[in-house]
Amino acid sequence: MMYMIRRFILLMTTILLVSMITFGVFQILPGDPVRTMLGTEADATQIENLRSELGLDRPLYEQYTDWIKGLLTGELGHSIRFSMPVKDLLLDRLPVTMSLAVLTLTIVLMVSLPLGMFAARRQNKLSDVSLSTLTQIGMAVPSFWLGMMLILYVGMQFSFFKISGYIPWSQSIAGALSTLILPALTIAIPQIAVNFRYVRTAILEQMQLDYVRTIRSKGMSERNVMYKHVLKNAMIPILTVFGLIMAEVVAGTIIVEQVFSLPGVGQLLITAISNRDFPLVQGIVMYITVAVVVINFIVDILYSVLDPRIRLR
């Protein structure tokens, strides 16, 4: 319990600092933000109006506390570019990004676990060495180029795949999959490469331990050694990587949504930056980061439940 409270306090400090950084960065904008937003043609009254509308004429700490209150209640202010509440814009785009992230994670887990197990059992054999080489290449390919390759060699060859745009799940499940599978693969492949290595190492580490020798000498089949004992123990270190992968997947959606023209949160963020729509940028950055931090917190808690030794450290 002490561990959880400590972790929770840490979570809160991190979120507080993240919010301060996100808020603070936009205070060091070179020049007058309002003038930058409106462009050079704006007249004095326009500038004054926007300034008071954005609350920029008030003291900094008041602006900050207002912004935090907004974050907590979900009222993130108005987007300048879309003249809509930031919240509505985000809610509109969230399903696309969420579906993409969940699909990607599923693919990463479904491929990297068996692959890592396979390679660990064949340590230093040709198949293991070639998989390790292949994954190294997988880590070096820029994800957006990978996406373009998938468009060229898979998307264009099979009529099932749509290479741009999004079809909602409610409209057609096959349609949604046809728009999401290639982008999901694009984000997944480098992450599979990373996770594969962790799985392989974690399993190899377990295999060297005494308990494996004991159960083997008792005559347990290799299959049971792997699935009933080794895999369970190896899952604990693998779980810690899950949080990291999660962050990478979220970051990956931003770039890959551009490659496949998916109307998700990432595309919204890029549009916001290009249009200097700063309230929107702040809101998106804050929510994405908090989501990642909270997921990592949950992973940590799960980790301590699975491995009580962690709590004593």
Binding site: A140, I151, A251, I270
Partner: protein, 274 residues
């Protein structure tokens, strides 16, 4: 099987060095010579497929892709190097002070680093680019800031390990200034971990620069950047599929070379990691 492993290690070093030296030579050459002017447009020759005249073909404006690739190495190395310089110098300073002094300095700096690390890398980079604007230097600053937390953690753990070592105590007793103890005595002892981290930072910075330029928020035209070239090539994916391979292949090859080199360096400097 030991032989396979040793062979693999040397291969890492060999290929890694070969790739990086190769790209460095291309970069140096590009300062004096490129087959064509990188920005010379030649519309009648646009989207020319690779031939002896145009090694990697031409782009949508008839510019020679090979020449632009050569010039692009300058951008890639400039951003990579600047990022590493920013990331390591601030990382060592922050991590070093935190680890060496301990106490509230440690707590304050490390919580701040935790918070920076909480942002997914590309998000923080995008936010900084939104504030500072695009361009080579601003991209490197943004990517350098992202690199600071990881390097500062490595530096901190190194400084914590060595802070109470006997040689540090001895140095303190003969009155060496804390500044000199930190940077002249402890730093050389932990440099291997930092060098490995710096190589990886270099590689990820190049990938991130390509990503930002692909999004149109990194290096701006007319400066040739591989990421930007990839973005432009996407519109001609069917009509001129060779266009995309030159920049895509170059990024992959260079990053792969850097990863291999960093693996080799790690194995060499820390035999335990084998």
């Amino acid at each position: 099987m030991d032989i396979v492993k040793r062979y693999m290690k040397n291969i890492n070093l060999l290929i890694g060095l070969l790739v990086i030296v190769g790209f460095l030579l291309v970069m140096i050459t590009s300062f004096f010579y490129t087959p064509y002017d990188v920005n010379m447009m030649n519309i009648p020759e646009k989207l020319h497929s690779p031939s002896s005249k145009y090694l990697f073909g031409t782009d949508e404006f008839g510019r020679d892709i090979f020449s632009r690739m050569m010039k692009g190495t300058q951008t890639a190395f400039a951003v990579g190097l600047l990022t590493v310089i920013i990331g390591t110098s601030f990382g060592i300073l922050i991590g070093g002070l935190a680890g060496f002094l301990g106490g509230w300095v440690d707590e304050l700096f490390m919580r701040l680093m935790d918070a920076l690390m909480a942002f997914p890398g590309i998000i923080l980079a995008l936010m900084l680019v939104a504030v500072f604007g695009p361009g080579v230097v601003n991209t490197a600053i943004a990517l350098g800031v992202i690199a600071i937390p990881a390097i500062s953690r490595i530096a901190r753990s190194g400084f914590v390990q060595h802070r109470d070592a006997e040689y540090v105590l001895a140095a303190k007793l003969i009155g060496v200034k804390p500044y000199n103890i930190m940077f002249r005595h402890i730093l050389p002892n932990i440099s291997s971990q930092i060098i490995v981290a710096a190589t990886v930072t270099f590689a990820t910075a190049m990938l991130a620069e390509a990503a930002l330029s692909y999004l149109g928020l990194g290096v701006q035209p007319p400066n040739p950047s591989w990421g930007r070239m990839l973005k432009d090539s996407q519109a001609y994916l069917v009509k001129a599929s060779w266009y995309t391979f030159a920049p895509g292949g170059a990024i992959t090859l260079l990053v792969l070379g850097l990863y291999m080199l960093s693996n080799a360096v790690r194995d060499y400097m820390d035999p335990r990691s084998k």
